[in-house]
Amino acid sequence: MTRLSSVLAGGLLAALILSLLLGSVPLPLERVLGAIAFQASAGDQLVVWQIRLPRSLTAAIVGAALGMSGAALQGLLRNPLAEPGILGVSATAALFATFVLHFRLATAGPLVLPAAAVAGALLATLIVAAAALRNRSVVTLILIGVGLSSFSAALMALLMNLAPDPFSLTDMVNWMLGTVANRSFEDIAFAAPFLLAGIIVMLLTRRGLSALALGEETAEGLGLNLKMQRLGVIIGAGLATGAAVALAGSIGFVGIVAPHLVRPFVRYDPARLLIPSAILGALLLVLADIGVRLLPTDNELKLGVVASLIGAPIFVWIASRRRLA
């Protein structure tokens, strides 16, 4: 592990512990630590293990998945403004989740909703991967992603338009805003295999991302198998992003901002960017979730809303400061 990753991991650990101290029941540090070690009262253990820890871990996992997916896609598409959902994965996952909420299928079981989101993500990933096998141009892939996103958004709007009652409409809107509140270890366990597979595939393709920094033609000349490289990143980022959307709904901008902040510290190398981007993404989202809980608002703010409020101005700042065309 590099020094940068170690520092970020230390920060992440501190933020996770801090996040466990916050909540409607005041719990001091020693009682939280006692509960983690199963040395505290049953009540304390319940609060920490059933409510706070799953929530904080979900924030960290989602942030890590989005941070690494963003870094990998930015390397593949050679664009610092690419985000994890650029190939249509997030929007298609959200569409499938909205479908479940619209037809009230979520009552069938706790995992119906995340399963639908993952299915949507897999479908979008398959479509884009099939296109990558047939097509040489990366611009075509982006356009297919834009098309998938627009079509999914249109169908989601239709489902909302036809919402059977105000409650299901509220469900759909709330899900889309993105939150990690009330998540359980079952949710995490369901998403974990997709997430792990995605991260492993992305890490396997990372050396090729370095070669792509010099352009696709040069990278091929260097001995990169461009087709396999594209497939790897599309599938890896698709799985990880799909798992993130299944866990938390749509959370924007972490996947753009985390890689951007890390890049100067890894000498702008797209390969060395992946792991620190994941850790920073996790840290940012855990901090944002702490912020959500501290802000004294009547309705608790949704994590996705806060992430976008902070992330969008940073996005504009990144776009206006690009150094190379």
């Binding site: 000349g221 390969a271 150094r323």
Partner: protein, 258 residues
């Protein structure tokens, strides 16, 4: 046996032939330049030779093996490629860009074997880039950047280097500097194949010229044997005066369109 042999390479897009029946061989230690007007098929021929495009018929053999059957990494250890478009997106340091030349040997920036480090340092020295190692790519001039890309290609230390217009858009001094690096590499045993548009530079530095027009190789030989005013008129459509008297390098003066 020749290092590289192309036999009857043919490639068409939508039944429009871009390269037709191109055959040539490359020997170690020679600087071969590919000349011809825009649209003659030079870049396509280079990509066919590299195996990045699959020819409709004919074959390209490297050390007796067909290039399209080689794994990308195997091919990259034998042919380095310097394409015409060299777009950078990240302001990476020069050292890391040159080190990517070692990609086919399993290297990556920050993960170099001793052998990779030595080859990278040698390429940086050959292109006169010592002291630039930590400079960010976006702080370099066009001339410096083109030497960085050339160093990247040299770092692979391949028997064959293929370059597409390496001196386009460079001022005269940098053009000569780059071609001198090519000459030196050839004198050290490397085989180089490069597209050059400036015929005076070609006449001066090439050991051999391959002339292309309309997708076909129309002449192949030393500058002295192949640069004639008739050929310049036939291939490029220009009126030119060629001075090939004496032992010194031949020179030419282009007077205008024929």
């Amino acid at each position: 046996m020749s290092l590289f042999v192309a036999e009857g390479l043919t490639y068409a897009v939508n039944s429009e032939p871009l390269v037709s029946d191109a055959s040539f061989a490359l020997e170690p230690g020679a600087l071969t330049m590919l000349v011809g007007p825009n649209g003659a098929g030079k870049t396509t021929l280079l990509r066919l030779a590299l195996g990045l495009l699959k020819s409709d018929s004919g074959r390209a053999m490297l050390d007796g093996q067909e290039v399209t059957t080689l794994a990308p990494v195997q091919r990259a250890r034998k042919i380095a490629y310097l394409p015409q478009q060299r777009p950078l997106v990240w302001p990476q340091p020069v050292q890391d860009i040159v080190a990517l030349g070692r990609f086919a040997y399993g290297a990556a920036p920050g993960r170099l074997s001793t052998e990779d480090e030595v080859a990278t340092a040698r390429a940086i020295a050959a292109c006169d880039l010592e002291g630039f190692e930590e400079r960010a790519a976006d702080t370099l001039s066009g001339g410096e950047l083109s030497r960085v890309h050339l160093a990247r290609a040299l770092a692979a230390e391949t028997p064959l280097l293929v370059a597409d217009e390496p001196v386009a858009a460079l001022d005269p001094r940098y053009q000569h500097e780059v071609l001198r690096i090519f000459s030196k590499a050839a004198s050290e045993g490397q085989s180089l194949l490069t597209v050059v548009h400036d015929l005076s530079l070609a006449a001066r530095y090439a050991d051999r010229l391959i002339w292309m027009k309309d997708g076909r190789i129309v002449a192949d030989g030393t500058p002295r044997d192949t640069i004639t005013s008739d050929r310049l008129k036939a291939v490029f459509g220009v009126e030119a005066r060629v001075n090939a008297a004496g032992d010194c390098a031949i020179s030419l003066e282009i007077l205008g369109p024929a």
